[in-house]
Amino acid sequence: MSQNFVLKKGLDIPITGAASLNLAKTIFPDIVAVKPTDFKGITPRLLVKEGDHVMCGSPVLADKKNPDILITSPVSGTVKEIVRGDKRKLLAVLIQDDDLMESVDFGKKNFKDLDAAQVKQILLQSGLWPVLVQRPYGVVADPALTPDAIFVSAFNTAPLAPCSDFSYGNEFANVQTGLNALAKIAKVHVSLDANRPDSPFAKLENAELHCFKGKHPAGNVGVQISHIRPIRKGDVVWTVSLMGLAFIGRLLNTGRYDVSRKVAVTGPMAIEPCYIKTVPGAAIANLAPYYGTGDEPLRFIDGDVLSGVNVGRDGYLGFFCEQVTIIREGVDKELLGWIRPIRFHQFSTDHSYFSWLMPGRKYDMDTNLHGGERAFMMNDGYYAKFLPMDIYPIFLTKACLAGDIEKMEKFGIYEVLPEDLAVCEFVDPSKTDIQDIIAKGIDLMLKEMA
């Protein structure tokens, strides 16, 4: 049975630099990085040493707590360097790509012949298991558990987010295969964009389809879950992206580990924003033609401007990367900025400015904080306008600040990930780090519940 949900709360951030729907080129990087920090909840154990030869799908890391969970190489080549940080913390495994893309042969499979345990086994062996994210807390799924349901968001509302239909529309068969395989484990729910009735994914079978209409974060799977089937204490659900479904489909249909994907290069400072095809772990330096050689300080974000990770000019794309956003560092001072009646080049949702008179306008946003950090002074309702969930955002945030587990449970810590409150953080005039506070709250829950 499909359901329609209309979400009235939320905000689409009007930022310039949306990627045009064309695949400009394919980038085969010389070096790729496998970063354990991409996978929340994993304590990495190194399985390779420098000089080892690896193929696509060869294990590189395993989880110390659950050794069945493997993280595998996205390319074939040789392990070039193990990068460690303070206290020998493993930061990345650098692999010299031989451009051959030789894959371990996992064998073609027909999902009809597989049961749930076999599906899990194949995903664990191939290193595709980490595409399954477990809620509450957004960690890599625990293979010992059977989730109550699996949720997929087939669209994205984040600022400048890549278009799912463009990225995976031509891989419908793979996505359907991936979905069929996961449906062996639990019931799958797919959420579609009500504004795109002609989306190829509206034809997906073997899943319950739901339609969502609304501004960001309506495309966040967490927001969708809270409307379809809110997570209660003791519940376990899994989420997977369309990208993850496509990878699983490729694996079953071809027997190869193939995690190449289209990545949208976006943002006000991106030159001719477009899509490129590459593998996870590719260096930002490979994107040089898209950000020029000027000496302006830039920020390179793996993901969107609200919840992405600042990877830096020397960084590498993460495992889940489908979008890179390039924006300017806002290090300039603005004389009497806050007191000017009108600031034409700044966006604000607040009616104390006049951006709301120009709803269609897009802005060249930068990373300036536009103020100093203060205690929360506006009340909960100021933020709740931007969170389409049955949750009081500031009560939850303050419970996390206080580390009060009982209150965090009551106020809905099981239902959210930091990304769901990103818009609340964006509009906050007190300039607090709401997402960081929620993330610390989730870490506390993980620690206390372990």
């Binding site: 809110p230 609200l306 300039d332 001072k333 300036n368 203060r374 002074m377 009081y392 005039p429 007190s430």
Partner: protein, 372 residues
């Protein structure tokens, strides 16, 4: 910032102060470090300066009215806009100087001690305090009241945003309880020059029982009250100027319309009951014009820090403020101005109201989830 003001520098003890002036002049080049990489252009400075702008008509009118009431008491006739305004301006200016010097001084010192940036919260409180006190209040008393309000009302809880009483009203409450002689009686609401006394028959506002602003105004006509040409605290008299401010606050969404409407509804309800029960013969709508009701409803009750956080809570908070204010007026003839205590009492109960609203919401949600 000059390294001399940074940690380890000789003038580090001035760090917060210098930072406050610097960020007042320009939005700093601070960039986001965690979470959302881009942020909305609005900050608390912008929001709070709008509250000051919203209160400006009431303040400007109040200054003129100080001069007008003085003129009336001295037996003058006519409107004399500039002359009265100048008189009032010179009377109110010292109040502002004391309010900001003392309040900001304490705020800067505490911010430095905590190693934080100076919060703009006092920008608004400091603007309100001179508007809600009698114009002839001795300046040392005002200084004491401001110090009490900022330290006890705000800083010991952690500064702006952590307080649960409205600091401006707390200053007024301090004056009221510590120096009642200066906060009541028929004369304190009119400014006099040294050595002046009122020409008795020219002054018509007060009765011997009248002890504060609201009761000094009883018996005054609708339009006098609406325009604000009556004695009272500096900024509270003109309902029309306050309505202008209300428009700005509601338009920008800084103040909650639910609190304002709740307060008006509560006052009308109790005013009507009182009239119907024969407790008073004042029509209920006139209650909205007397004393500090309008100023309190628009500028004080809607303070987002000290009012309720939840949307349902805001209705309850507003209704309680309005009802309590008028109830006090009915049953305490010695102290007819109930707005200050009504709001402070509701400030005290706001967290409890929120707790009840949120608990009800959680149990409703749990029930819904169980049946789902």
């Amino acid at each position: 910032m000059n390294p001399i003001f940074e940690k380890g520098g000789k003038l580090y003890w001035l760090h917060s102060t210098v930072d406050a002036f610097e960020t007042f002049l320009h939005v700093p080049g601070t960039v986001t470090r965690k979470g959302s990489h881009v942020r909305d252009a609005v900050d608390l400075k912008r929001i709070l300066i709008l509250v000051v702008i919203a209160a400006a008509p009431a303040a400007l009118f109040g200054m003129w009215n100080v001069g007008y009431q003085h003129g009336l008491a001295m037996g003058q006739t006519g409107v004399h806009i500039l002359e009265y305004f100048w008189f009032g301006f010179l009377k109110v200016l010292p109040l502002y100087i004391v309010s900001y010097l003392v309040g900001l001084g304490i705020e800067f010192a505490f911010s430095q001690a905590r190693g934080e940036e100076v919060s703009e919260g006092y920008l608004v409180s400091g603007f309100f305090i001179p508007l809600i006190v009698p114009v002839d209040i001795p300046l040392w008393m005002l200084a004491l009241a401001v110090a009490f309000a900022v330290i006890i009302g705000k800083e010991i809880f952690g500064g702006s945003g952590m307080n649960f009483w409205n600091p401006a009203l707390l200053a007024r409450a301090f004056l009221f309880f510590a120096y009642p002689n200066y906060m009541s009686g028929s004369d304190c609401w009119i400014a006099f020059r040294k050595g002046e006394t009122a020409v008795a028959d020219a002054f018509t506002g007060a009765t011997p029982l009248a002890l504060d602003g609201a009761s000094a105004q009883y018996g005054t006509g609708f339009w006098d009250l609406f325009i604000g040409i009556v004695p009272g605290s500096v900024g509270e008299t003109s309902v029309i100027a306050i309505l202008l401010g209300a428009f700005v606050l509601l338009w920008t969404g800084i103040a909650s319309w639910k609190i304002m409407c709740g307060s008006v509804a509560g006052a009308l309800l109790v005013g009507w009951i009182g009239q119907a029960a024969g407790i008073t013969d004042i029509p209920c709508y006139m209650q909205l014009l007397y004393g500090g009701f309008a100023f309190g409803t628009v500028f004080m009750a809607t303070d987002p820090v000290t009012s309720c956080q939840t949307e349902t809570g805001k209705w309850i908070f507003g209704l309680l403020v309005g009802m309590l204010c008028i109830t006090v007026r009915f049953f305490n003839p010695g102290y007819a101005e109930g707005m200050m205590l009504a709001i402070l009492l509701c400030n005290t109960f706001a967290p409890l109201i929120d707790h009840c609203v949120v608990s009800a919401h959680i149990s409703r949600k749990e029930k819904k989830l169980k049946t789902a």
